[in-house]
């Protein structure tokens, strides 16, 4: 296994998918996986199957909704889109993430300066 690739942190996948859906509008599972792959420049090691678990979980929470549609190559596919509640959740999670990563960043810098 490629050691340079990072594992996806627990819980961050939800955040990434929400953000993707917010930015790009309705997408199917494959499209979401491609988008994350593209953005991460292949630095993330992602089992694409876990995307579906995450999608299901968020559907149950009411953050996203799903509808059947037709993909670009005319095949039947399930399209996921963000809901209002998902938007709100995204805001909260983003703020959370920034605060925590800021803290961790500062802590790590302290470590190296000493």
């Amino acid at each position: 296994m490629d050691t340079k690739k990072s594992e996806v942190l627990q819980g961050t996948l939800d955040l990434m998918i929400l953000k993707t859906l917010q930015a790009l509008g309705p997408l199917h599972g494959f499209g979401i996986a491609r988008r994350i792959e593209q953005v991460s420049h292949d630095t993330l090691q992602l089992n694409e199957g876990t995307v579906y678990t995450s999608l299901l979980r968020m559907q149950q929470q009411g953050w996203i909704k799903a509808a059947w549609g037709t993909s670009t190559n005319n095949r039947k596919a399930k399209f996921y889109s963000i809901t209002k509640r998902g938007q709100k959740q995204l805001e909260i999670e983003t703020e959370n993430w920034e605060r925590i990563s800021g803290v961790i960043g500062r802590v790590l810098r302290l470590e190296t300066e000493r």
Partner: protein, 891 residues
């Protein structure tokens, strides 16, 4: 926080939806995954991979699809339900494998649950919901309770005018009926029979809300004066006296000299007033007192919905105060009106017995639970490795507890099923041994829906009680301990040992409490039977003579019948003595207010009184204390003389010579046909005779010559030389030779009568407790035996080593018995202490023995110790026979 709850609810809803429509969604989801894999493969193909490589890369990129499906399942379905089913099947399988354990547990639980179910059936059917009437829980009767009277005393018989006044209190009742007992003489070809009739007021059957089984109930016109006379028969009487013969419907019967038409037969559960038949009567304000000679209309009303007892009491006290102004002598100077619910009269005294029995059953159930808990603990120890393995493979603790709880639940439900069968059989026995007059006539004791629900709840509760401790114990263990351990602990007791010990100690304690109460109740019952009633009940036959009212109206008519009858009966061979009285002994007479000449008193003085012939005291062997009893001349000349009991003399004439004192009976002055002047001279004092039935005790009582009485209830008392039961036919012949229209009722030996009326309740209690005590003893024996058998089996190796090192069998025997007896003695100490603490609760039920009776405590403790010691004996002997070679090899 609210949104968290909302979300979890949403999740659950989604799960439920998923669970209900899983098939379709599964397929859809698979399609979605396939599509994704397809697209990934295509992507790799365009990058120049071969199809095979591309497929493999796509799979790698996507990850484990099976795991994904499982994750999804867990998210979307109620996995717990499925797991529950799996656990259930697993439990059934493991229990089937250890059949002996399961059988003993289920039988033990069935004993406990069965007993609880049977007793609860009685309580539900007798105490909680005995009456089949419409709104029975709101049916009450008022009792005029004088401020100076004992708690359960007071007047609940009313005049017609009073009953009408009460019935018109429409702000209190939304329906009512007044009932008066009416002894009915029924002339038929063979002679005369007495039936117990009840006269009921208009609207009675509508009030109870029960239609007739055959024929019809009374219509308003049936109550009108001058309407064709009719009556309605109770089912039980129809069955017992008329053999369920339907042809008697609409036939005419001569009742008390009046031809009445039978218009209806009531359904089996209608038993109002425990009467044989019902006669319509419309109350009028001008009517005097009825045939009883005192206000005897029993008023029953249904409280308006929402009206509380206390509110009704206040409102009724207002009504009664109005009545008291009109008839001041019918009311105590200061009184309140108590509201009593129907049934209160019937089982006031039976209630305590039933609740004691229920407590006993609860204890029994606890013992059964602790036995099963102990068996489970023992079994759990042998399963330690299984559970350690499960934990090592990732089972969570909650999951393990659930598995064990399901096993417990299976056992409890099986026990409940078997227990219900026990209860069904046991109820038949119970009903047969129950004192019949202590339960409402309407009550049918059977298993019903509320009882079965109760049983289910009990089963669930027992599962919690006996299952939780082993479950927690087993799931808490450190897995490494168990996996490392070879399974059979050496020497030192394992950690859970104390819990098993505690269970046995508790069990012994509970069982001892049961045994001690059983012993106390039994001794109390024996004491009650030997208690001095104040009269000699053996060799006495008694019967009530019911005189046709139309031919016996005056004292002269009464005396002309009784005096020759007494001489004829006395002349019979085998008859020692005969007497007449106005009450069936040992019941006391009617109540009256009294005054004593020259004695001022503020409070209300009360006494019972009855009319007797000169031979009364001699016939019943009532001891004379002072003065003399009536002479024949005094009786024949209807002299105004009285004999009082010791309680009377002590209470009202303390430190004085009662002989020659003059006493006035107020009631006599208000009744018709009795002399206006009701002053009597006391000529004698006799020993106290129990006259407060059934609770026991003695109230002041007066006896007056029967030649002053008007015909009412006449009782013939005969002392015989041989078995009194054999005299019945001879006496009946003499009575009918005098007048064939006279009926004989309640014919019985005095001993038989007392047996039924006074002893039935306590006997029932002591029989029940004895049965429970024995069951408890059996359960404890099983408990002690199984604990020791199990712990010695686990210590086989240790015993082998001890014996190899030179211990003799006797040492081993002593060691095992000692370890068992230590627990038993601990339990006994706790049990004795608990019994002493509980003493004052049971004390009220005891007669002639205290709750701290050393003989009972000693005997039951000894019994329990011996039984427990013998339970220790078998495992101890087995241990002593251990062959060290085999024991040491067995690992």
């Amino acid at each position: 926080m609210a949104s968290k709850l909302e979300r979890s609810l949403q999740g659950f809803a989604a799960k439920l939806r998923g669970f209900l429509s899983r098939q379709g969604h599964d397929a859809e989801f698979d399609d979605e995954i396939q599509e994704h894999l397809q697209l990934l493969t295509e992507k790799y193909l365009t990058q120049g991979m071969s199809r095979e490589e591309a497929t493999r890369a796509a799979r790698r990129q996507f990850g484990n699809t099976t795991l994904l499906r499982e994750n999804r399942r867990e998210l979307q379905t109620l996995t717990s339900l499925e797991a529950l089913w799996l656990d259930l099947r697993y439990s059934l399988r493991t229990l089937w494998k250890s059949r002996a354990f399961a059988a003993v547990s289920i039988a033990t639980l069935a004993l406990g649950i069965g007993a609880a179910t049977a007793i609860f059936s009685v309580i539900d059917n007798v105490l909680l919901a005995p009456f089949p009437y419409k709104g029975a829980s709101r049916m009450v009767f008022p009792r005029i309770h004088g401020a100076e009277q004992d708690e359960d005393e007071g007047r609940q018989g009313y005049t017609a005018a009073e009953a009408l006044e009460l019935a018109e209190s429409s702000q209190i009742f939304d329906g009512s009926v007044a009932t008066e007992e009416d002894l009915v003489l029924y002339r038929h070809g063979g002679g005369t029979d007495q039936l117990y009739g009840a006269r009921v007021t208009p609207g009675a059957f509508e009030f109870f809300g029960m239609p007739a089984l055959y024929g019809r109930v009374m219509q308003p016109r049936d109550y009108e004066p001058g309407a064709p006379p009719v009556f309605i028969l109770r089912y039980k009487t129809w069955k017992e006296r008329f053999g369920e013969d339907l042809s008697i419907l609409n036939k005419s019967f001569v009742l008390n000299g009046t031809a009445r038409t039978l218009i209806g037969i009531m359904p089996p559960r209608f038993g109002w007033y425990d009467a044989d038949l019902y006669i319509p009567e419309k109350l009028t304000r001008s009517a005097g007192v009825g045939p009883a000679g005192y206000p005897n209309w029993f008023f029953l009303g249904r409280l308006k919905p929402g009206l509380r007892d206390e509110q009704a009491q206040v409102a009724l006290t207002v009504v009664a105060n109005g009545l008291a102004k009109l008839h001041p002598h019918d009311y105590p100077a200061q009184f309140t009106v108590l509201v009593k619910h129907i049934g209160d009269t019937v089982f006031e005294h039976f209630k305590a017995t039933l609740y004691i029995v229920l407590t006993a059953v609860g204890l029994l159930l606890l013992i059964a639970c602790s036995n099963v808990a102990n068996l489970m603990l023992a079994r759990a120890t042998t399963r330690e490795r299984e559970f350690a393995l499960r934990t090592a493979l990732g089972a969570r603790r909650a999951r393990l507890i659930r598995l064990l709880m399901i096993e417990s639940m299976v056992l409890a439900l099986a026990g409940a099923a078997l227990g219900t069968a026990f209860a069904w059989g046991g109820l038949k026995l119970l009903v047969a041994s129950m004192p019949q007059e202590l339960i409402p006539a309407e009550a049918v004791i059977q298993l019903n829906a509320p009882v079965l629900i109760f049983t289910l709840c009990v089963a669930a509760l027992t599962a919690l009680i006996f299952g939780l401790a082993p479950a927690l114990q087993l799931s808490r263990r450190d897995i490494n301990d168990s996996l490392r351990d070879s399974g059979k602990g050496m020497g030192s007791r394992s950690q859970d040992g104390w819990l098993r010990d505690a269970v046995v100690v508790g069990e012994v304690a509970l069982s001892l409490v049961l045994l001690i109460s059983a012993g106390l109740l039994m001794r109390s019952f024996v004491a009650l039977r030997h208690a001095n009633l104040g009269l000699r009940a053996d060799h006495v036959f008694q019967t009530m003579l019911v005189l046709p009212a139309e031919r016996y109206k005056t004292t002269e008519q009464l005396v002309q019948f009784v005096r020759p009858l007494l001489s004829r009966v006395k002349a019979l061979p085998g008859v020692v003595d005969a007497a007449e009285s106005s009450r069936l002994p040992p019941y006391g007479g009617n109540q009256t207010e009294i005054d004593i000449a020259g004695k001022a008193h503020l409070e209300n003085w009360q006494s019972l009184f009855q009319y007797v012939s000169e031979g009364y005291f001699r016939t019943l062997r009532i001891e004379l204390r002072q003065g003399r009893t009536f002479s024949e001349a005094e009786i024949n000349n209807a002299r105004k003389v009285a004999v009082v009991n010791e309680t009377f003399a002590r209470r009202y004439l303390a430190n004085q010579n009662p002989i020659g004192q003059r006493v006035r009976l107020e009631n006599l002055e208000t009744e018709a046909n009795t002399p206006q002047n009701a002053w009597f001279e006391i000529v004698g004092v006799v020993g106290d005779v129990t006259n407060r039935i059934p609770q026991g005790g003695v109230d002041p009582e007066l006896w007056l010559p029967y030649t002053l009485a008007t015909p009412g209830r006449q009782v013939l008392i005969v002392r015989t030389a041989q078995d009194p039961a054999t005299m019945m036919d001879l006496v009946r012949k003499e009575v009918w030779a005098m007048d064939s229209g006279v009926a004989l009722a309640y014919s019985n030996t005095l001993e038989g009568f007392i047996n039924e009326r006074i002893y039935a309740g306590p006997r029932f209690g002591s029989i029940m407790m004895t049965i429970f005590g024995c069951v408890g003893l059996i359960l404890v024996t099983v408990g002690v035996y199984s604990l020791l058998a199990y712990s010695t089996a686990r210590k086989t190796q240790e015993i082998g080593i001890r014996m190899a090192l030179g211990a003799r069998p006797a040492d081993v025997l002593g060691m095992v018995i000692g370890s068992g007896l230590r627990l038993v003695l601990g339990g006994i100490a706790i049990g004795v202490a608990t019994s002493l603490l509980l003493g004052r609760f049971i004390g009220g039920q005891l007669i002639g023995v205290t709750a701290y009776d050393p003989v009972t405590l000693g005997a039951t403790t000894l019994l329990l110790t011996l039984t427990a010691a013998s339970a220790c004996w078998i495992p101890a002997r087995r241990a002593a026979r251990v062959d060290p070679m085999i024991a040491l090899r067995d690992q």
